[in-house]
C-alpha cells in the first residue's frame, strides 16, 4: 500500500500530466449524459405509468424483471451494441439510472394524497392544470431525492464501466495503473479523486434540492 505522501505525489504527478483533469472530465461526461438521458426518459414515463393504474399493471412485471439485473451485467451487451467507447459507458450509466428513476417516479405519483387531487378538481382545474399545479409540485420532493440517490449510483457504476468498456476515465486510470506496473500510488490517487468528485456531485444535488421553487419538501415533516 502506498503511504499518504506517495498518494499525494501520485495525485500531483497525474495532475501535472493533465491526466487527472482529462479522466475526470471523461467520467463526468459519461455520467452526465447517461444520467440526463435516463431522467428525461424515465421520469415522464414513470409519472405516466404511476398515473394510470392499468399501465402500471401492464409494465410492472417487465420492470420487476429488468430492475434487479446489475448494470454491470449489461457490459457485454453494451460493448456488442456500441463497441468499446464512450457510447457503451453512457449506455451503462443510462441503464443503471433508468430503473431507479422510473420506480421513484411511479411511487411519487401513487403517493400523492387523493385529497390534493380532489381539491384540484373541486376548484375547477382542467386536467392539464392539475398536472402542473398539483401533480408536479406534489411529486417534486421525492423526485429530487431520487435524482440525488441515482446520481450517486451513476458515479459508482461509471468507475466499473470504465474498467472494461473504455480506455479513459477514472475507472480506466485505476485498472490501467495496476496493470501497467502495479502503480498503487496512482490507484489510490484515482480513488481519492473519485471520492472527492462524488462528494461534490452530492453537494451539487443537495443545493438543487434547496432551490426555492422546490423547497417545500425540506420544511415538511414527511
Amino acid at each position: 500500500m502506498p503511504s499518504p505522501l506517495e498518494t499525494l505525489a501520485g495525485i500531483v504527478d497525474l495532475a501535472r500530466q493533465g491526466l487527472l483533469l482529462k479522466y475526470a472530465v471523461a467520467s463526468l461526461f459519461r455520467v452526465t449524459w447517461g444520467f440526463i438521458a435516463a431522467a428525461v426518459l424515465a421520469i415522464p414515463m414513470g409519472l405516466t405509468i404511476g398515473w394510470y393504474r392499468r399501465a402500471e399493471m401492464a409494465f410492472n412485471p417487465l420492470i420487476q424483471i429488468l430492475r434487479p439485473i446489475s448494470p454491470l451485467a449489461w457490459i457485454p451487451i453494451a460493448i456488442l451494441w456500441f463497441g468499446v467507447g464512450d457510447l457503451a459507458a453512457v449506455f451503462l450509466i443510462f441503464v443503471s439510472c433508468f430503473f431507479p428513476l422510473l420506480l421513484t417516479a411511479i411511487n411519487a405519483v401513487q403517493g400523492i394524497p387523493a385529497i390534493y387531487l380532489n381539491a384540484g378538481r373541486n376548484f375547477g382545474l382542467s386536467p392539464a392544470a392539475i398536472i402542473y399545479r398539483v401533480l408536479y409540485p406534489a411529486v417534486m420532493p421525492q423526485l429530487i431525492t431520487g435524482l440525488r440517490i441515482t446520481l450517486g449510483l451513476a458515479w459508482l457504476v461509471v468507475v466499473a464501466a470504465e474498467m472494461i468498456a473504455v480506455s479513459s476515465g477514472l475507472g480506466f486510470l485505476i485498472i490501467d495503473a495496476r496493470n501497467a506496473g502495479n502503480r498503487y500510488d496512482l490507484v489510490v490517487a484515482g480513488m481519492v479523486a473519485i471520492g472527492v468528485i462524488g462528494l461534490l456531485l452530492d453537494l451539487l444535488m443537495r443545493s438543487l434540492a434547496r432551490a426555492k421553487f422546490l423547497r417545500w419538501g425540506e420544511v415538511t415533516e414527511d
Partner: protein, 253 residues
C-alpha cells in the same frame, strides 16, 4: 332561520362499495333536503357512511342509485360552487398561505385576486402569516387556511368533513365560533359532518342522525336555540341527550 327554497335535495340515495368481489352497502335510501343558507350537521357512528354521503354531495363519488340535486341540477362531478373542506389537512404544503388562498382564483384578474386574498386572510385571522408555508402553521391555523381557501372562491355551499376533528379541544371551540361568525357573514349553505354530537347541537340549524352502516336517516333534529347558544341550558341538554339516546349511547358510560 326562515325556511326558504331548497338548495340541495338528495332523493333515495343508495351507495355500495365493491371490494375483493364483495359488495358492502354504505348508504341505504337517504332522502334529505337542505335549505338555502342552512347550517346542517350530519352525525352518526364512526364509519357509518357520513363522509361518503358528503363526498357524493361534492360530486367526488356517484351514488349507486338515486340522485343529488343542487339548485335543481343533478350533481355529476365536483364544482367550484361547492367546496369540500377535508378531514385530513387539504392545504397544499408547497404553497404559502397566500398561494393556497389564491389556488382557486385563477380565472380572476390580478387585482381582484389580491383583494380576496387579503380579505380572507384577515377574516380567518392569518394576518402576518401571508408568506408562511403550512408546515410552519399550527393545526388550527392550517384548518382556518383551508376554510379561507374555500371561501375565497365565493362558493354557495361549504361541505365540511369533520374539519375540527384533529384539533385540540380549546382550538376546536374557537374554530366553531369562527365558523359560525363566517357563516353568518357570508350566508353560505353549510353541510358539516361530525361524530361529535355536542359540536352538531352547538352549530346546526338541524342535525341529521344517521344509523350504523349501511346508514339510514334515524332522525332529523331541529335545533331551535338562537346563537349564541347557552350549552348549559335545559333545551340544549334535552336536544343533545335526545340524540345520544337515539344512537343508543345514553347512560352507556
Amino acid at each position: 332561520m326562515a325556511i326558504s327554497e331548497t338548495k340541495l335535495s338528495a332523493g333515495r340515495i343508495t351507495m355500495a362499495f365493491q371490494r375483493d368481489g364483495k359488495t358492502t352497502p354504505v348508504l341505504n335510501d337517504i332522502s334529505l333536503e337542505v335549505a338555502r343558507g342552512e347550517f346542517l350537521c350530519i352525525v352518526g357512528p364512526s364509519g357509518c357512511g357520513k363522509s361518503t354521503l358528503l363526498s357524493a354531495m361534492a360530486g367526488f363519488l356517484s351514488p349507486s342509485s338515486g340522485e343529488i340535486r343542487i339548485d335543481g341540477q343533478t350533481v355529476t362531478g365536483p364544482d367550484p360552487r361547492r367546496i369540500f373542506v377535508f378531514q385530513e389537512r387539504g392545504v397544499f404544503p408547497w404553497l404559502t398561505v397566500e398561494g393556497n388562498i389564491e389556488f382557486g382564483l385563477f380565472a380572476l384578474p390580478r387585482a381582484e385576486r389580491q383583494k380576496r386574498i387579503s380579505h380572507y386572510i384577515k377574516m380567518v385571522g392569518l394576518t402576518g402569516f401571508e408568506r408562511a408555508y403550512p408546515a410552519e402553521l399550527s393545526g388550527g391555523m392550517k384548518q382556518r387556511l383551508e376554510v379561507a381557501r374555500a371561501l375565497a372562491v365565493n362558493p354557495d355551499m361549504l361541505l365540511l368533513d369533520e374539519p375540527f376533528g384533529a384539533l385540540d379541544s380549546i382550538t376546536r371551540l374557537t374554530m366553531r365560533k369562527e365558523l359560525l361568525r363566517i357563516w353568518e357573514a357570508e350566508g353560505n349553505t353549510v353541510v358539516f359532518v361530525t361524530h361529535d354530537i355536542d359540536e352538531a347541537v352547538q352549530l346546526a340549524d338541524r342535525v341529521v342522525v344517521l344509523s350504523d352502516r349501511p346508514a339510514r336517516i334515524q332522525q332529523i333534529v331541529k335545533v331551535d336555540i338562537p346563537h349564541p347558544r347557552d350549552i348549559s341550558s335545559a333545551r340544549y341538554l334535552e336536544l343533545r341527550n335526545g340524540i345520544f339516546e337515539q344512537l343508543g349511547l345514553a347512560h352507556a358510560i
